[in-house]
Subunit: 334 residues, 2 copies
DNA sequence: CTGAAAGCGCTTACAG
DNA sequence: CTGAAAGCGCTTACAG
């Protein structure tokens, strides 16, 4: 493996001059530069990133901290992982993957060993154990998902309250007055998934405002259990005229249940949903919906983190991605 | 951030002695060792991995090369990413995530910049463009998935031929003589997914051996298209008595189609499948099946790579994970 | 058993 | 504009 010294010798200059053209931080006469570039090409030289990191004390690497909660339904995780990594590379950063191994300790260790310049946290919960070591070390980080109010960290997420209002309005505008809101199981709220709570709160508020009566169903995510829960709602005498669904498992299973019961959308029941874009695409979920925007969220999150690395004193910010409604004709007048 | 020099000063020893207790490669008297450990604790010292990597020329980092093929159906990708990373950590390795950016160049660059000690390739295809730079550099790597015969690289995968034989036998044993084999669309074969071809070949061979007549359906993966394709097969006069499905999109949509047509499994049609464990779990796919084993495959793959890092001269090996059949009562006598 | 020295491959003031 | 020197934080022969 050629080193910067080999290149310098080949080009007949000092190592520091080679370094100048590598970093581009210093003017080098075109002729010298050309000679150095020729030497680099001839020797097939590539800078040793580790050595550079040691010299600059910047690793040009970000850490992606992923957590897995068994109780959840997250086929969309890969989309975020890949999107975040792609965006990071576009900014010139590599991505170190940190899976959960006693999350708080993992974060503490990676910060202290100086392996990464900043952290991206996926699957954030309200009072995430990963926050403390980051805040303690005043380490640059960005959250994908909303924390509780005062985490002191940058965060990016879909605007779940706005999404809820959009969906409720869509139903209210069509004349619905009694809807069932299918949301996540209690555990999801309990572990502090703010997307669940924020969506629910906004949904109920907007319903009140629009004079829509809402019943809440905390549906499980296990396939059979969620079907059974949906069946009970749809097979009753006072069937709601519409469903607002915020539960990926439920929306994936809903078509089965509807067919079982011989119900048609929107004739017998209107449906709107908020679900992951990935799920929607792969299962062709045919309902009017707001879908997650993993690419957009990832782009903004990494962009924020990179900006903070450049100016650490920036004020902490929270960015909410505007939801967009895709109308698919699953809503009719009741 | 405390350095090894700070620790040495605090403990009143030389830096090299501190290094000896850090690496554990040299005997140090218990008293000195205790003093050094106390100093490490007092200063909250953690070794700078980059500096260590530079000194040892081993990064203790593996690269995970992920490719995305739009045409595919891979909600299971995250499972592999997380599993591989977990296993690597258990072996003391960090994981650098490399998403596709002109795959061959990406691999070449990461090898030359010495950022990783070895590579794990996910989503391998038959004549993967990522092979050449690895073989050229004689770089340690392991493939998750089967390459064409002579890649010269270690590989680990589910034993797809054995899985095919198991499923065909299961149907043949129950007396089925005319089955339809639902497989991946042509593109999947065309891009060189060996799992598709290996399964198909073994399926057809075993059917011949067991005197089962097989019709082949290359089903698309788009939700509506795959439903339509299944509908045509199941709604015909000469409906097969059983289905062998190897196509995650098809198996996910099959229950819809069956209910639409008012068909019951196994009364009207038997079903066996090979699909991803992730899909099976999240959608509760109710059919007798062989499921992918992401954890097991990941464990063996990383284990193989780590072993090769220790003894680079080992013979190249191909490991096939034995499939296991989960019987769920979706097969009856025709 | 311990320590002084050299070196891993870079970058960055600082002279010239 | 170019180069010699020091330094980033470790490890590893090699003396003692």
């Amino acid at each position: 493996m050629a080193t910067i010294g080999d290149v310098a010798r080949e080009a007949g200059v000092a190592r520091s001059t080679v370094s100048s053209v590598l970093t581009g931080r210093k003017y080098v006469t075109p002729e010298t530069k050309a000679r150095i570039e020729a030497a680099i090409a001839a020797l097939d030289f590539t800078v040793n990133q580790g050595a550079r990191a040691l010299a600059t004390s910047r690793s040009m690497t970000l850490g992606l901290v992923v957590r897995f909660h068994e109780s959840e339904f997250t086929p969309a995780l890969a989309t975020y992982i890949v999107a975040v990594t792609d965006v990071a590379r576009a900014h010139g950063y590599r991505m170190l993957l940190l899976t959960d191994f006693g999350a708080a300790d993992a974060v503490r260790t990676v910060i202290r060993t100086r392996q990464v310049d900043g952290l991206v946290l996926l699957n954030v919960v309200e009072n995430d154990v990963r926050f403390a070591p980051i805040v303690d070390a005043a380490f640059p980080a960005v959250l994908v998902g909303m924390p509780a109010e005062l985490s002191g960290l940058d965060a990016v997420d879909l605007d779940f309250p706005a999404a809820a209002r959009t969906l409720v309005d869509h139903l209210a505008d069509a004349g619905h007055r009694a809807v069932t809101f299918v949301t996540w199981p209690d555990e999801v709220f309990a572990v502090g998934r703010t997307y669940a709570a924020h969506f629910r709160d906004a949904c109920l508020e907007q319903a009140l405002r629009r004079r829509v009566v809402v019943r809440i169903l905390h549906a499980p995510v296990a396939p059979d259990a969620v079907k059974e829960a949906l069946r009970r709602v749809l097979d009753s005498n006072n069937r709601p005229t519409a469903l607002v669904v915020h539960n990926d498992a439920a929306i994936a299973m809903l078509p089965f249940v509807l067919r079982d019961l011989g119900l048609e959308v929107p004739r017998d029941c209107s449906v709107v949903s908020l679900h992951s874009a990935e799920l929607g695409r792969q299962f062709g979920i045919p309902y009017t919906a707001v879908e997650s925007q993993p690419e957009r969220v990832s782009e903004l999150a990494v962009g924020r983190l990179v900006a903070r690395l450049l100016s650490p004193a920036d004020a902490v910010s929270t960015v909410l991605v505007k939801p967009s409604l895709t109308v698919r004709g699953s809503v009719a007048c009741p």
